[in-house]
Structures are given as structure tokens and as C-alpha cells.
């Protein structure tokens, strides 16, 4: 009997305790696969991992990864360098025909991936700002690197889309209703960020590999930005500073070696490691190279026009361009590897020394230093096995020189990060060069449409003219 009473008593106590609903019971630990943001910026290692995360994600991000929806491919198609050879891919065809529909899914991927990277940079910058536990060295490095990546991303957004929202925080409430900023505002921010990067970073690559950002990256991009903004003096200065760093950078004499991982010509590269997994080749390698056994898979090829613009003795024609017999198409042969597993031979090239020579050459022309301009051009011509221009007795006019540089930029930098497309736009020559290849060319096509999906979600955005 007493036993029963105890049982009853026990149950009653159990019941009354359990009626006290306790909020502590509802506390759950963070899942194993996540680190609370504050904790990330509590130690140098995890904070640095957040930056490595961006370097990794740059490979997976559509705009920067070199795959189908990258600036390299899509802007290559928009210009006169690349063409589609699979007619059923409408979304790609819209780029090559300069007739992009606002709901083109590749366009959305391009745009979204860029803003996704911008979010990551803003998140790091906010985390660094709020943290007191990081060493000064890592804090300045990470700030410099993140600001560079942000500026770099905005550079492509503003050039591809024109006026775009300038997002500098992670506050989605505000950002979801952001309006478009003028191109001037965006460039101002890019220059501010790059100047900060330049001041904060040194010339070391923090990880050894050229896939991290150092001071030269900031200088190299600054040189380009000033060129686009027609600040000739600044462009000249910045590119000269990179070129003079012969310790670290040089023009590789064998064109076949230029795109290798950590090549001495590379200023900044993106590593295929970001893909995760054992595959070690770049996306450029796998999208441009034909597989002899399945040539039908490849979607894009070089235009005959580009190929014909090379003279026969140009080494770049032989080393950087290939011909596929099966489909009778020319292909980009800058990257040679599309099959490496467990080893990485090539990184995806973003900034390289050759461009700095071309930038300085153009800036020098504008500053009427023709001799200097020709000397810079000749550096690349020598590598290409072409006769040097400075030896030429014939005096070239300023216009002729600029045309030569534009032509040289095309041959040197084709299918790298949309150089040709951006050059045609900034020199106002798109209307001249593109109509032959795209029937319905309109001047408004120089800007891609703001993705329709974005206009639907953010009523404050407007469409570019012509769409």
C-alpha cells in the first residue's frame, strides 16, 4: 500500500514539474556545420577562412568561374570573338545575337552571382569592423582583400549593366528596395575601395599562390579603372608600378606557359580548388576545348573573323588557337587542360601583366608619348614573334596608334574576362564592329538588361533602355 502511495506521489511530482513549461529546454546548440558569424571574427584563423571562402566561391560563382554564364563566355559571345555552335541553346544565342531577353536565365545567373559575392565581401567587412579580437595584421589584410574583391565585382557590374544598385551592407531590408546608382557613384566607390586595398596590402601573396589578393592586384585593377575613366596619368602610374615589379612579374616568353598556375605573368588567378572535389582543371579549359571523341558537346567556338585577324607568323595564333576538324571550328587553346584529376596545372587567369603593358601603352598615347607606347606594345609583339613597331620608320598617327592598340588588345586578351566587349564599349566602337556579325544590332545593346526577375522583386529598379 505504501508503495502505491509513493508511486502516486512520484507521478504527481513528475506531473507538476512537467507542467512548468521551461524555456531553457528550448535552447538548442548550433548545428555542427555552422559557425555563428560573431565567432567567425573572433579568431584570425576563422576570419581568414571567411576570405578563403570568397576565393573558393569565386570559382563557383557564375560570373567569375569561367563557365557558361561567366563574363568570359557571355561577353565573349556579345563581342565579335566567340560564337555559339549549338543552335538549340537559345539563351546563349541571345548573347551572340545581341538580342538578350530580360528573362534570360544566364543573365540572371551572371547578375545574381556577382551580388552574392558582394554580399560576402560586405559581410566580412562588417564582421571585421565589429570584432576586437583580431590581430592588426590579419585585419588590415582581410579588409584590403575584401575591398578589392568588392571593387572588382562592381567593375564588371557597372560595365555590363550601367547604372546599378550600390550595395555596401548586408541589411536585406534596405537592400531589397535599393535604387540604381549612377555609374559615376559606382566608379567612385570602386576607386575608393581600390585605393584602400592598395594602401592596406603589401606585395606578398598571403597563401603563397597567386589566387589571393595582394597590392599589385589593387594597382593593376586601378590602372584599368583609370584607363576606363580616361585618367591617363593615374593609369600610367599604376600600371608602371606593377610593370616595374620585375621581381614578381614578367612576360613569359612561351605563350603556352602563360596560363599555368602561378605563372610569373599572373597577377591574380582563381583556383579550381573552389569547385570542391578532385577535378583540377579550369572551367575555361572544359568549355573551350573540344573533346576529340565527343566534339558535339562543345557549345562555343572562336569566330573566323578573330582568327583571320592574326597574321600567319603570330605565335599566339599557333599556341592559343586550335582547330577542330570534326566540327570545322576554331577553339580557344589558352588553357590546355580539361581532364586533370587530383592535380591542378592551371588556374583561371583574371589579371595578368600583358594587360598592364597595353594599359600603359594606351595611356602613353593619350599623353602623346608615342615612343613609350610603341615600346610597351613591342614587349607583347616580341613574345608573339612579330616585328617590333618602334623599328618601323613610318610614323603612326594617334588614331592609328589607338586602333593598333585596340587590335592588339583583342589578339592578346581574347576570351579573357570580356575585354573585347568592354573595349568596344568604352571606345564607342561597338556600333562599328558589331553590326556585321549581329543583324539586329542596336546601340542600346551595349548594356545587358536588368534581369526581369529582379524588376519583379524590387519595384524600385528600372530597366535599361531598349529592353
Amino acid at each position: 500500500m505504501t508503495k502505491t502511495i509513493y508511486i502516486i506521489l512520484g507521478l504527481l511530482i513528475l506531473a507538476s514539474i512537467s507542467f512548468l513549461s521551461c524555456e531553457e529546454f528550448l535552447e538548442v546548440d548550433a548545428p555542427e556545420n555552422k559557425i555563428v558569424s560573431e565567432a567567425v571574427f573572433n579568431s584570425d584563423e576563422t576570419a581568414a577562412s571567411a576570405m578563403s571562402g570568397i576565393y573558393n566561391e569565386l570559382f563557383r560563382a557564375a560570373f567569375s568561374g569561367g563557365w557558361e554564364n561567366s563574363v568570359t563566355v557571355l561577353s565573349g559571345l556579345s563581342s565579335d570573338n566567340l560564337k555559339t555552335i549549338r543552335e538549340n541553346d537559345l539563351n546563349l544565342r541571345e548573347y551572340s545575337e545581341n538580342n538578350i531577353q530580360p528573362n534570360n536565365s544566364r543573365n540572371l545567373a551572371l547578375w545574381s552571382s556577382a551580388y552574392s559575392i558582394i554580399y560576402m565581401t560586405n559581410s566580412i567587412l562588417e564582421g571585421l569592423e565589429a570584432s576586437d579580437n583580431l590581430s592588426e595584421g590579419i585585419k588590415t589584410s582581410l579588409e584590403g582583400e575584401a575591398k578589392f574583391v568588392r571593387a572588382f565585382t562592381y567593375f564588371y557590374l557597372v560595365n555590363l549593366y550601367g547604372e546599378i544598385p550600390l550595395i555596401l551592407s548586408t541589411d536585406y531590408r534596405e537592400n531589397s528596395l535599393a535604387t540604381r546608382n549612377s555609374e559615376e557613384d559606382i566608379y567612385q566607390q570602386i576607386i575608393t575601395d581600390l585605393n584602400t586595398s592598395r594602401d592596406l596590402l603589401d606585395d606578398n601573396y598571403r597563401h603563397g599562390d597567386r589566387t589571393g589578393v595582394n597590392r599589385s592586384c589593387a594597382l593593376a585593377l586601378l590602372a584599368r579603372v583609370h584607363l576606363y575613366k580616361e585618367n591617363w596619368e593615374e593609369a600610367d602610374l599604376a600600371s608602371s608600378e606593377v610593370i616595374s615589379n620585375t621581381q614578381q612579374y614578367e612576360i613569359i616568353s612561351d605563350p603556352n606557359q602563360v596560363f599555368l598556375a602561378n605563372s610569373k605573368e599572373a597577377i591574380w588567378q582563381i583556383t579550381p580548388e573552389g569547385r570542391g572535389g578532385p577535378l583540377g582543371f579550369t572551367n575555361e579549359g572544359s568549355i573551350f576545348l573540344f573533346l576529340s571523341i565527343a566534339p558535339g558537346i562543345t557549345k562555343v567556338a572562336l569566330t573566323e573573323e578573330l582568327v583571320n585577324s592574326f597574321v600567319e607568323r603570330d605565335q599566339r595564333l599557333h599556341d592559343w588557337i586550335g582547330f577542330n576538324e570534326d566540327t570545322q571550328n576554331y577553339f580557344v587553346n589558352k588553357y590546355k587542360d580539361r581532364r586533370s584529376i587530383n592535380e591542378i596545372l592551371e588556374f583561371s587567369m583574371v589579371l595578368r601583366l600583358a594587360e598592364q603593358y597595353l594599359i600603359r601603352s594606351e595611356a602613353r598615347v593619350m599623353k602623346n608619348n608615342f615612343a613609350g607606347a610603341l615600346a610597351d606594345l613591342d614587349v607583347l609583339r616580341v613574345r608573339a614573334g612579330l616585328p617590333i613597331l618602334s623599328a618601323n620608320n613610318e610614323e603612326l598617327s594617334k588614331e592609328e596608334l589607338l586602333d593598333t592598340i585596340l587590335e592588339e588588345r583583342r589578339k592578346e586578351l581574347f576570351t579573357e574576362w570580356g575585354h573585347r566587349w568592354l573595349d568596344l564599349k568604352r571606345t564607342n566602337k561597338a556600333d562599328y564592329f558589331l553590326p556585321p556579325s549581329s543583324e539586329d544590332w542596336e546601340n542600346t545593346d551595349i548594356y545587358y538588361p536588368i534581369p526581369a526577375q529582379e524588376l519583379m522583386k524590387n519595384p524600385n529598379l528600372t530597366q535599361n533602355p531598349g529592353y
Binding site: L12, C22, F25, G276, L291, P459
Partner: protein, 997 residues
Amino acid sequence: MKNNYSRLKWVALIIIGGILFFLSKSAHAATTTPLPLQQAIFGVVQDENGLPIPGVTVTVKNTNRGTVTNLDGEYSISAPANGTLVFSYIGYKTVEIPVDNNEEISIQLEEDISALGEVKINAGYYNTTERESTGNISRVTAKEIEQQPVVSPIQALAGRMAGVEITPNGNLPGNASTIRIRGTNSLREEGNFPLYIIDGVPINSTPLESNSNLTFGGIDPLNTLNLSNIESIEVLKDADATAIYGSRGANGVVLITTKKGKQGKTELQARVYTGASTVSNRIDLLNTEEYLQIRRRAFVNDGLEPTEDNAYDLLIWDQDRYTDWQDIFFGRTAQVTDVNLNANGGNENTAFRLSGSYHSQGTVFIGDYDYKKVTAGAHVSHTSDNNKLNLDLSLNYGVDLNNLVGYLNLTANAFTLPPNAPSLFNENNTLNWSDWAEVGLENPLSGFYNTSRTQAQNLNSNLVVSYEILKGLRLKSNFGYTNFRSDELVKRPKRSFSPATRGNIANRSNHLFIKRNSWIVEPQINYRNSIGKGEIDIILGSTFQQSERKNIALQGEGYVSESLMGNLNAAEDIIATSNSNADYRYNAIFARLGLNWDKKYYLNLTGRRDGSSRFGPGNRIANFGAIGSAWIFSEEEFIKSSIPFLSFGKLRGSYGTTGNDQIGDYGYFDAYESTLGPGGLYPNQLSNPEYSWEVNKKLEAAIELGLFEDQLNLAVSWYRNRSSSQLVGFSLPAITGFTSVQANLPATAQNTGWEVELSSYNIQKENFSWRTSLNFTIPRNELVSYPNIEESSYANTYRVGEPLNISLLYDYDGINPETGLYQFTDVNNDDALDYQDRMIAWNRGREFFGGLDNVISFKNFSLQFLWEFVKQEGMLAMFNAGSLENQRSDVYQSFDSNNRFQQISRSIEASRAYSDALNSTFPIENASFLRLKTLNLTYSIPSRFLEKIGLQTGRLFLTGQNLFTLSPYKGMDPEAPARGTSFTALRTITAGVQINL
């Protein structure tokens, strides 16, 4: 290996069967103790089939004296010689018999068809009856479920319940169906799952992730249940029924009760059925001649010369070849086999039930794939002699194995491949690569040797202990534990790919391990008492629940040989593609106060205070509650006298709030996660610490009538559910870095509707009976309010005043006479076709739906058939005449000058016009249907044959599923009318036998 596996299963089954048989022989029947004599009366109570009924209450009228029949149906009682005995038992008609000096009174009780109102209904924490219920609860029982050749019990509910919509997501065994109880409440797909409770233990109703072809819709978490082991499924719909589940009741509650042991003689039952399934429908596609004619015309119309690149179907492929690709891809017959064994028995104190089953099912697709499951279940209950202590343990264990093709869609190509495309296989049965490679294509069966194998194990267990402290006061607690594991292996051998791509591909295996387990403890106090004509029933309880879920996905690559694949040891590289876990905790107090006066006036108050870890600190706790009441007006004298044919009449209504916490875990967490690349971290979701519960307010009014002694029963209910502060992945523009964030949306979605349930005993003769029941639902879904929707990111997805389930479409405006292409109304006259022109809100939902069930018995035969009917609209694609894909044969009309299709063309403009047309009103079709969902013919073998072989009962049955469909829709299956190419319902015919020892 595979053979060994299935042989093992058979051995296991035989062992289970043996144990059950042994138990049945060793159990004893209890004996009775005669009561002291006044005038001793004894007898046997049997049912209509002459089987004894244990547990029948026998009382002497107007006294307190009474007894119950024993396991053999025998009773004895003392009563005055002029007294009257009353025999009563649930489900049977109560009989009064005058003693008249008889010493023996043996009777047969008649089943009381109208006593359905007395059948106990599981309302979750308490039981009620249909008669007394103040809420809306639908119920199906074992009879309707157990013979259906389906994998998950949810599939067996289609068409059977008013307000419950079941739509299959695919045609592979094990695929989860979508279940919607009273419509879509949440804008998030995953926010619409009902709460599943098996024997008192909540089960995560979210379908399981998969890398296999079950990805779409996911894997049904109820697959591993044994359908034959389900006693009943109750669906709780209104506030009165669901509010006691508080934060988890918004989408309704599905209560699954497994079969319990019953007192009485030990019985052994065995049932076997087997049969076959096929795809009953085909789309009428172009034949080779028609297809090629259209393709040639396309080039003529476009003024283009066909080349080997853009017209390999015209220039390279055989012009006379014809293949019916639908037949090739899904023209096979799938076998179904089901074996089920169970035993049950017990005495006054203890009852048990043991069961085991085996189920296997093939697929209709090219290749050998199958699904198998084995289950075992046990239930034991015990009551102490003094009736104070009750123990009840149920265990259900199931293992299933799903073998499917991996990473290969076996239906898509069946509709798109040109009819003259080359053969898939070489003569030696290897894949034909060369003919396809010649034109730059992969063989459509590229990936054919990929396999996927998903194995799941599931244990559901629950122990209920209750103790009556004082009369009417009971302490009770249930302790539940569930453990689910699934282990999936998808193999992608090199051999699956064309020789061309093989060089670039490594042997790869994908592994997915899922673990879900949870425990729950729910201590409760019940108090029940009557005061005068009033009765009171109180429950006070609390819930502690913890659930864990863990997913690990691994990828192994670089196996040297195919035979080693799956053994991660042999992989050159192993990557963890995902590794996530979530911990969910849940804590609540709940209460119920049930009152009734004179069994006429009922009041039911329920409430719950809930806390859930899915919300940020400060937003975790909320209160929910409901009030329900009923008035049985047929018990009022003035009704009885004025409407004599009214045998039952009840008015009831309820109002209350429920909530919804089905949102991903940790959404409030601002966190970083590992990147796929090494050494990196990145933020991969936006965090919002402020979001909170989604509140669902439910209102219901209903009338229930029984006419002519309950020969005709009618129930009509009207409901209105309003979900406000919608918890959604709030869609964001990509400039924010993400496409969505979890947040409470200032919106209200409303579901209203009418539900009608009608049942009628059309004929009731000794050898012939016919019963018809109908359920009918008219649902209406509406986005009632959304302040400033124009400025929100949903401005172009939803419309205030329209259902949530809409597509915004272009207004089709005929064929442009100049281009010959489809054109659409340019609403804003900006010469561009974009989202601003998509102004037509087309409702994809069902206008009404229901089921019509008939049960006809004639002598030993019983025929049951259920018609499911739905009125709705659908879309139908495949009319892009001119493109390099096959199309519906309708497009052949394009040769006529006057037809509804655009000019035959392969130009980019034509393709664009076609894809715009798919987003317009053009392809809308009537997709209503009437489908013979199930048909079941049963023959009970007369007992004179059975006795000779020592059997108690024996039945033969024939079951058909989806035998016949009437629909104007020309797609594969009106149950999935999105484009016309999906199909879900297979036609299945099975035959079987059931015997009881």
C-alpha cells in the same frame, strides 16, 4: 547478392509465421466463474456469422447487476424470473429479452449499421464518437486501406475523405504524395505538411531527401508502415479538433492508429495477394511520316536549307524508321506481391498482437527496378485486476529497399525523341552510342547503368502507462521513441556513359545517410465525473519532445573497377558534399475541458501553450486555443414529435487558433558554413532573428442529420481558415545577395469551403445489401490581404483576391497574321512582352473534388468500388511544330490553313513564341476527371468448406486500382496536368486470398 537478400527475407517471414502459429496454439482460453444463483441464466452471444462475441455487456434491466461475456461468448447471470436481460455491445444493436423462466438465453446480435455514431474516434489526446464530437474528424478504417496495393497509407486515402486532397508526385514506388487538408495555408511548400502522429508519437512529415529519381516530391516517411497493421486513420480538420496540437495543427493532423491485440481466442490470419501494374495511358504523338513532313515544312517556311547540323533527323537518320518511345521507356508491367501474417489474442488482463509483412513492387520502366519492404509489429496491453493500472506498448518496425535507376529521367525522352531516332541498344544488348554520336548526341539512355539503392529502417514505439488514483482521476503518460535511418547509394559507373565522355568521367558513388530520431514524453492527468445530467472530462498535460536530424552526403570517386563501387575504402577520393544536422526541441502544456448536459448539449474547450526551438529567443512561446460546441437537437422532445423521420440531428460549430512552426531549423541563426572548396567559410543564408509563429484561425459550422432510422446520413460543413503573418522564405531580389529570407509576411491567406458527406443504405436484405457513400468538397483559396503588395517582392507572383495557387499568364491573342506566330496582348503597350503583361491569374487548383463509394454484398460476395472525381483545369504542352522534338499529333493540323497552331517553324522567333505560349492562356485545357480509383471484389468461402480444413474464415479477393478514367484531358494523366507528360496513377490489378485460423 540480390537473391540472397530476398531469400533472407523469406526465411525471416517463415520464422515470424512459425512463431505466430506456435503462440496461437499455446494460448489458453480463460474459464468463467458462475455467479451465485437467484435464478441462474446462462447462454452464448454470437454474431450473425455464429462467431462468439466476447465482452458483451449483459445487465438485468432496472438493476445494477450485470456481467460480460467471456472469450467464448458465454455468460451467466442471476436474474428474477420475470426480469429482462439487456445485451449491449458497441457496433451491435442492443437487445432486450424477457427471462420468462428460461434457464438458457442464447442470442445472435445484429450488427448495428446505424451505430456508427457510437464508434470510438481517436481525437488525439482523447476519444470521442461521431455522435458526440464537437469537431470535424474524418476516418477511414482497416477495411478501406489494407488491400490496396500501394506503398504508403497516404496514397490509400485518395478520394475517401472530404476536404483531404491527395496528389501523387510521381510514379515510382516510395515517392511521397502531396497531402493537403483543407487547402494550401502557407506560401511555402514545406509549410503545408500536416502533422503525422502514429500511436501518439509525432513523426516528421517532411519527405526525405534523396539523390535518386525520388528527388522530386521526396520519399514518403510513412513508407515503412505496414498498411495491414493500421486500424484506422483519423484526419483532424477544424479548430476544435486541431487546437490541442497548437503550433503544429494549422495544416490538420493525421492520426494513425495501429491494430491492437484483442481479448479472445488466439487467431492467426494470413493474407497474400499478387498482381501487376501498367501505365494505362499514352499520348497521341506524331508518327514518323507526319513528324518528318512537319520538319521539312519548317525549313521551307523559314527559307533555310537543312544541314546535317540542324536537321540530322532529315538528313542522317533513317526516314522510315518508327519507334513508339513511350512503349520503350515505360511500357513494362510491374509485379506487386504482398504477404501479411498476424496473430492476436489475450485474456481479460492481457492482450497481444504480432504481425509481419512483406511487400514488393516493380516499376513500369525500362530496366529492372523494384521496391521491397518487410515489417514487423507487436502490441501488448495489460490491465491490472483492479482495472487501475493500464500498460500499452506498441512497436512497429519496417525496412524497405528501393532499387531504381540513378540520375536518369526515364520519362522525359519518351515524349520528345523524334520517332525516327536510332535504336537505344545494339543487337548484343549494349547501349548504342555510335548512331547517336554521329549527330553529336548522347544516347538518351546515357546513365542507364547508374543504379540507386535506398534502404530505410524505421522504428516507431510508444508506451502508455496510466493509473487511476481515485475514481475518475487518472494519471497517464506516454513515452514515445522513433528512429529512422535511411541509407542511399547511387552508383554512376563509367560504363554508363558514351565512350566519348568516359575518358573524362570517373566511377562515382554518391552516398546519403539520413538519421531522424525523436523522443517524446507527455505526462497527463485525466479527470472524468458526472454531476446530475452533466458530465465533465478534463485533460491536463504537457509535452517534451526532442528531435534530431542528421544528413551526411558523401561522394566517392575514382574507383578502379565498377565492382568496388560503393565501398568508400576503394575510392580514390571521398568528398563530403553535405553534412548537416539539426536539433529541434519542443515543449508545451495542453488542456481540454469537455462538458455535456444530458447528452444533448456539448461544449469542448481546448488549449495549448507551445514553445519551439525553431524561433529566435523571445519569440519561442505562444498560446493557442479553441472552443467547440454541439447541440443534438434530435433529442429534444419537440423535434422528436414534429419530425418523426429524423433519427439524428446535430448542429455544431467551432472557432479557434492553431499555428505552424514548420520552417527550417536555425533560421534565426546568423552563421557561416564551409565552402565546397577547402578551408573556406561563407555565409549561405540570411538570418532574421525576429520571425515568429504563423497563426491560423479556423471557423467551422456544420449540421449532421440521420434520416429514417439512420438509413440516410448527411453531414454538411462549412469552414473558413485564415492564415496570417505568413512565415515564408520571403523572396528577395538577388542584389541582397540571396533570393530569400525567412520572415513573417504581413499577408492573410484564406481557405473556405463546403464539405458534404452523405451515406445511404440503399438496400438492406438478409442476403443483399448496398451502401453508397459520397464525399464532396468545394474548396476556395484566396489571398485576402497583403498590404502594399505592389511594393513587395511578391508584386508579380500573387494577386490579392486570387488563390495562392495561380500562374500569371499572358493573354493569348491569336496568330499574328504577318509572322504567323502566336501573339499575346501587350497590356502596357510597351512593345515588349514581359511580366507586366502577364495579367491573367489562372487558378491551378481544384474547383471541386470528391469520391463516391459503393459497397454491395450479395450472399458471400462483396463488391466495393470507389470513384474519385475532380473538376479542374490543366495545361498541355508539346505543340512546338517544327522543332527537333516529337510533338502531339494534334499539331499535324498545322498544315491546314485554319488551325489554332502557329506556323510550322524552327526559327528562334518561333521557339520564343512557343515558350511564351506555354506561359499564356493558350494551352489551358479542361483536366477534370472521373476515375475508378479502387474496385474490390471479395468472396467469403462458406464455412462448411473451411471447417474441413480447419480454417475459421477464408476469403478470396480481386482488387483493381485506377482501372478506368474518364477525362477530356489529352495529357498522360489528369491527376498531374502541368504539361501533360507526367503520370502518377498506374493501373493495377491484384488477386489474393485471406485465411483465419
